[in-house]
C-alpha cells in the first residue's frame, strides 16, 4: 500500500474583493499540484480569482473545549459595540 497524498485545505477569494474563504479540502502530492486540483474541484464556475492552499497538518486550531475561556470574556464587554452609547437624535448621524 503506497502512501496517500497529503490533505490540503483550500481557500478561495471570490470576485468581489472579499477575503479568501475556506471552501473545502483536496489531496495532492505537493503545493503546486494542490493548486491545480483546487482549481479543478472548486472553481468550475468562476467561483474565484485567487486560490490559497495550506497543508492541513500545518494548521493550528483552537480546541473546542477552549470555547468558554477564549470567547466568554468578550461576551460581557458590550461597550465594544456602538449601540452601547446613547447619543441624542439632535446630534445627527454618528
Amino acid at each position: 500500500m503506497s502512501k496517500e497524498w497529503p490533505l490540503w485545505e483550500v481557500f478561495i477569494r471570490g470576485q468581489h474583493g472579499m477575503s479568501h474563504r475556506h471552501v473545502g479540502s483536496i489531496h495532492a502530492a505537493d503545493a503546486e499540484h494542490a493548486v491545480k486540483n483546487a482549481r479543478d474541484v472548486y472553481t468550475r464556475r468562476n467561483e474565484g480569482v485567487s486560490i490559497w492552499v495550506v497543508e492541513a497538518e500545518k494548521i493550528t486550531a483552537s480546541s473546542p473545549s477552549d470555547k468558554g475561556p477564549l470567547y466568554d470574556p468578550a461576551r460581557d464587554k458590550v461597550y465594544r459595540h456602538p449601540t452601547f452609547y446613547d447619543i441624542p437624535d439632535e446630534v445627527g448621524k454618528m
Binding site: S2, E4, L7, V23, S25, A29, D30, R44
Partner: protein
C-alpha cells in the same frame, strides 16, 4: 437514497454527554470535526457520507458511457460538464467523511471489497441516448429531493458539502429534461426511445429512496441526530408529485397503472416498486454490479503508479530544496 439502508449505530456513552450532545442538535447547532460526538454518530456518518461519495463516483460510469456518442457537440459538452461535476461531488463528500477519521484510501478499499455500498440505481445499464435524458431528469431529480434537506444536516462539513452540491445539481436535472424535450419532439422512433427510457428508469428511481422506514429504529435515531431529515416515504411521495406533471408535459406515460391523483390527500397514489428486485441489486445481483466494481477496480489499479510517482516526485523536489538551503 444515495445512502439508503444506512443503519444507525448503537451508542453506549455517558448519558449526560449524550443529552448535552442531543441538546446542541435540537438547538440547531452544527457539530464540527473536533467536537465531542457519540461513537455511533461518527460511525453512522462515515457510512452514510462514504456511501454517498461512492454513489457520486460510480454514478459517473453509466453516463460516461455516452460521452463519446452524444448526438451533438453541445450535448457532449453538457454531459461532460455534468459528469465532471459528479466527480467533484464525490471529492467534496470524501473530504467531509475524512474529517471523521477515515482515509480516502480506506473508503475506496471498502467500496472495492464490498464492505461499503453505493446507490442501487447505478447498477442499471444506459442502453440508448434517451437514457441520458431519463437519468438527468429522474435520477438527479430524486437525488435533489434527498440532498436539499441535507443542507441542514447537523454535521457541519456534510452540510457545507451538500450546499455546494445542491448549487450544481439543478443544471443536471435540467439538462436531462432538455434531452427528453428534444427526444419527444423528434421522430416516432425518438419518442419511442424516450418512453422506453422512462419505462426502465421509473421504478429504479423510486427505489432510490429506499424501502419504507417509518417504523425503523435506525431511521428514528438518524432523524434525531439530524443526519436524516425526512422518511423515505415522504421523499418518494414528493418525487412522484413533482415528476408526474413533468412526464405529462413531455407527453410520456408513467409506467404505473395504479398511478392516480388523490383529491383527498392532495397527492398521487402510486404502485410500490418491486422490493425483491431492490434487495437483489443491493446484494450485488443487479444487471451491472460486477461491471461497475470492475471499472472502479481497474481505475484504482491503473492509477497506482501515478499516485506513487507523484509522491516520489514531490519528495525528491522537497529533498532537493532542503539541500539547497
Amino acid at each position: 437514497m444515495y445512502a439508503h439502508m444506512v443503519k444507525s449505530e448503537a451508542t453506549s456513552e455517558d448519558p449526560e454527554m449524550l443529552a448535552a450532545f442531543q441538546a446542541r442538535i435540537d438547538a440547531g447547532e452544527k457539530i464540527e470535526p473536533k467536537d465531542w460526538m457519540p461513537a455511533g454518530y461518527r460511525k453512522t456518518l462515515i457510512r452514510q457520507i462514504g456511501q454517498h461519495a461512492h454513489s457520486e463516483i460510480v454514478g459517473q460510469l453509466p453516463e460516461g458511457n455516452w460521452i463519446t456518442r452524444a448526438p451533438t457537440l453541445e450535448r457532449k459538452a453538457n454531459l461532460l460538464a455534468k459528469v465532471q461535476d459528479e466527480a467533484g461531488h464525490g471529492l467534496y463528500l470524501y473530504c467531509a467523511a475524512e474529517t471523521l477519521g477515515v482515509s480516502r484510501d480506506e473508503m475506496t478499499e471498502m467500496l472495492l471489497d464490498g464492505r461499503m455500498k453505493y446507490s442501487s440505481i447505478f447498477n442499471y445499464p444506459t442502453l440508448t441516448w434517451a437514457d441520458m435524458g431519463a437519468v438527468g431528469w429522474l435520477v438527479d431529480g430524486a437525488a435533489i429531493m434527498n440532498q436539499v434537506p441535507l443542507q441542514r444536516t447537523s454535521y457541519g462539513p456534510y452540510a457545507r458539502a451538500m450546499v455546494r452540491i445542491c448549487k450544481e445539481e439543478s443544471f443536471h436535472q435540467r439538462q436531462g429534461f432538455h434531452v427528453m424535450m428534444s427526444m419527444v419532439k423528434g421522430t416516432e422512433d425518438q419518442k419511442r426511445m424516450a418512453q422506453d427510457a422512462l419505462n426502465r428508469f421509473w421504478f429504479p428511481a423510486l427505489m432510490m429512496f429506499g424501502p419504507s422506514d417509518k417504523d425503523s429504529v435506525h431511521s428514528r435515531q438518524s432523524m434525531a441526530w439530524k443526519i436524516k431529515m425526512n422518511t423515505n416515504d415522504e421523499l418518494r411521495q414528493k418525487f412522484v408529485d413533482e415528476t408526474v406533471p413533468q412526464a405529462e408535459y413531455l407527453g410520456l406515460t408513467v409506467p404505473d397503472k395504479k398511478l392516480k391523483w388523490n383529491e383527498e390527500t392532495g397527492h398521487y397514489d402510486f404502485a410500490e416498486p418491486d422490493w425483491s428486485e431492490f434487495f437483489e441489486v443491493i446484494k450485488g445481483n443487479g444487471p451491472c454490479n460486477k461491471e461497475r466494481i470492475a471499472a472502479r477496480q481497474k481505475a484504482w489499479d491503473d492509477g497506482a503508479w501515478v499516485r506513487e510517482a507523484m509522491m516520489a516526485h514531490a519528495e525528491k523536489k522537497r529533498a532537493r530544496k532542503l539541500a539547497a538551503e
